[in-house]
Amino acid sequence: MKTSIQNLFLLSAILLFMLPESAYALPGFTRQTGKDCMTCHAQNMPKLNAYGRHFALSGYTIYNPDSETQSLIEGSEVALGLPAVLNVSAVLKARYIKSSRRDGLTANDDIVGVERGELQVLDASGLFFGGRIAENVGGIISLTDDSSDENDVAFGGKAVLSYPMLSGFGGLSLYSTQVNGAFSGMENFNTGLNSPLRQFENANGTNAAQATGVGRGPSTGLQMYYGDERFFATVGGVIPSQNNEGIDAGGSVIPFWRVSYNQPIGEWNVMLGTYGMNGKVKASDQSIDGGLIDNGALLVEVDKEVYGFDFEASGPIGNMMTMTTINVVTKNTVDPTPANLLTSTNLKKTDNEASSIEFQINPVKSLGVKLAYLDYTNNNPLVAQDYIESYDFDAYSVGLNYLARQNIVFDIEYTHNTVKSIDKDDFYDLYLSATIAF
């Protein structure tokens, strides 16, 4: 207990030093639109509300025409519409994670890693360049720390072409990401299909799409979409890998789709959606695994099949804002041929399914209380990946998040994991985190 208090004190001290004055300013999109963070975010960042979805569907091109500093530079013979400002944001994260899972024993039986208690300052942090790029074009480009030993940084993002049509927007999204998953070109609900959009920081222990790997990991793809207040549909092709130097997949990509319907009911929004992915991609092992192509390469075929559905309901109970999200991954298989040649996350042989329900209620606007339940089943117990467990488990989570400012969130989460399929003691995960966006 004494150690935990010391760790908390240390975390607080580090956060104090990390807080520059600018952290109190508003991040990129708020600068572009002139609207505050909570215009787009529900309960806390980064979860999106209806207007946030509308802004994303516009390709992040909506701007404030009355702003002097955010005016547009127009073209004469060839169109331009370039904002007079490039909006840059930084997202800083500091986390303290403690677990009792007892996976991290050394040869001397020393407890290491998160089992010992791990302070992760600036992990998952990054720079984001985003917003309107030109008339009908916008995007987000990220420059983040790469957690691998080989790389310093990961450069990713998306460029979105968006046109107003019918009562919403239609367009294309070209994307490449190290972390956000196959649907991240255009996915705006908070059910975990797009990795940042979820309710808990502890993604593995709370969200089905995250625990199975469906909504996270490296992806490069192109999506076509239409979305309005009620209806959203997208189809695309994806390669479950990121390699800016090139992936020699030829014409092979894995098709995917996603449909959702959102029904506004008074102050509530109720969404029901479904998603799927089924196909094969074939590329040389080095290029799809993040390396360089050279002699001795071997073509590898990755067969991926995913199905599931999700649900989101958000609205007030009394004066208290709530959000409930459900995600059910009915199938997630990854089948590489030849097997066991690839090492990257999301490319190893996988067969799992999961369902999760998450709920958050804010008794006051700045304070949220949240609960989650996750049921995870692994059908391929031979292989574990970075964040994909090789055993079945149930996880019960509780958490609190507190908004010191709209762009400064403190989070505390506790998850109790009950292991079912192997002889392993129940264990807990404790997450303390602070996120600052500016």
Binding site: E74, I133, I141, G157, S176, D248, S284
Partner: protein, 443 residues
């Protein structure tokens, strides 16, 4: 390295955050549209763009929303904003029997096509983040951050420029891992400075690029004069880029470049010449940091000799915007004093054991403001002895004919499609083709 890089990124955040909220990019600094400085598309400079570069990127206008903060007793004149820009490139590369540097078509162990011969998605390759523009009165610069194969690479230049009526004079200090020895101050579109060229597929269309003269690592300084008609620069550089330090002592390789602009009706004809000659000496592990810990540290001397001519004709022919560029690299020779000191991956002294000669002609015509067609011819002769890798001998000898079109969807968003047909000179290498589709977004 890893921690250094990420902390440097966050240093930039903390130091420059206030400025980062405001107006980035040269267009933002001047308040002028992109095509004020660019001809035909966003990658090539016109005469106004050349003058802007020669002003050290320090030119400001009354049009934009940016003002200057002036000093009282000491000069300052710093913009109220720090200008940031991002350039993204997404490419699709599809070759047919494209070869590597040894003249071989790469195959998998099962004999299948790999790499561009299979069709390669490069998203978002060669993308950069730039901090650029006016730094103070008479001073400007460009700092570039680039990710390559997961590593963070930083390069850039600082320019001091003085307006002397109809001319600019100044000097530039630069360090780049990519843009070549002339990157301190070079503003014509003939490929001497890697970003300023007509085709995306630079190795198959431009002599300075194919011969590796206008690309690669360089750290140096240039003095220059740019008048209404005459551009001249002298400089010295070492052919390496290492932010941790280069122990080249007082050794450096000299460079010179001269260009004369002649207005002809509503066109401008520019004829130029360039040359490089000298030796630089530095540690082998500084020259190639990947050798550190692999080979004993020792001094290695790099001798370079290069010269050539270039020509640019720009303007309207029957109201059609036209840009013709010619580059002739008569000689580009690099010699190492002791190639055995540069042993990396079992290769001795490569690629410095090289001598090339190349000629290219590139032509782009724009019937419409947003749509242009282009054609290029390249002849390349690799005279390198390739003492330690004889299978490279004459592997790069070729004729290449390329076609392409550029479509500017917006001034800062361009689609490019290019197709090259290559006839290698060596009998044992088959003809090959390379198709490239590129989306370039700058914002």
């Amino acid at each position: 390295m890893k921690k250094t890089s990420i902390w440097f990124i966050f240093l930039i955040i903390f130091v420059f955050l206030d400025s980062a909220q405001a107006v980035p990019g040269f267009a933002r600094q001047t308040g002028l549209e992109c095509f004020m400085c660019h001809t035909q598309n966003q990658s090539k400079l016109n005469s106004f763009g050349r003058n802007f570069a020669r002003s050290g990127y320090a030119m400001s206008t009354e049009v934009g929303s940016q003002s200057l903060i002036d000093g009282k007793e000491l000069g300052l004149s710093i913009p109220t904003v720090l200008n940031l820009s991002v350039m993204l490139k997404a490419r699709w590369d599809k070759g047919d029997d494209v070869i590597n540097g040894k003249g071989r078509v790469l195959k998998s162990v099962d004999g299948d096509d790999v790499g561009s011969n299979r069709g390669e998605h490069e998203i978002f390759k060669t993308s950069t983040i730039n901090i650029a523009g006016r730094l103070s009165e008479n001073v400007g610069g460009l700092l570039e951050f680039r990710e390559k194969e997961g590593k963070a690479i930083l390069g850039g230049k600082v320019i001091a420029a003085f307006d002397t009526g109809d001319s600019y004079s100044g000097f530039a200090v630069y360090s780049t891992n990519n843009y070549g020895p002339f990157s301190g101050m070079e503003t014509y579109n003939t490929g001497l400075y890697k970003p300023l060229r007509q085709f995306e597929n630079h190795k198959l269309t431009n002599a300075a690029q194919a011969s590796d003269l206008g690309s690669g690592a360089a750290t140096g300084a240039q003095v220059y004069y740019a008048g209404e008609h005459l551009f001249a620069t002298l400089g010295a550089y070492v052919p390496m880029h290492n932010s941790d330090g280069i122990d080249s002592g007082s050794t450096a390789i000299g460079l010179a470049r001269l260009a004369y602009e002649l207005p002809i009706s509503n066109m401008i004809l520019t004829v130029g010449a360039f040359g490089i000659s000298g030796q630089a000496e530095a540690s082998n592990t500084i020259f190639d940091p990947s050798l550190s810990g692999v080979v004993p540290r020792a001094l290695v001397t790099v001798e370079k000799e290069a010269y050539g001519l270039d020509l640019q004709l720009e303007g309207d022919i029957m109201d059609v915007s036209t840009l013709l560029t010619v580059n002739a690299v008569f000689k580009n020779k690099t010699t190492l004093s002791d190639p055995t000191l540069m042993v990396g991956g079992g290769i001795f002294g490569e690629p410095e054991d090289a001598e090339t000669q190349a000629y290219s002609v590139d032509l782009a015509v724009y019937p419409w403001s947003s749509l242009g067609f282009k054609v290029a011819y390249l002849n390349m002769d690799d005279k390198g002895p390739h003492t330690f890798e004889p299978d490279k001998i004459d592997a790069k000898d070729k004729h290449a004919l390329s076609f392409g079109l550029d479509y500017s969807f917006r001034q800062n968003i361009m689609f490019t499609v290019e197709y090259s047909m290559v006839s290698p000179s060596r009998d044992d290498i088959n003809d090959y083709t390379d198709a490239l589709a590129v989306l370039t977004i700058s914002f």
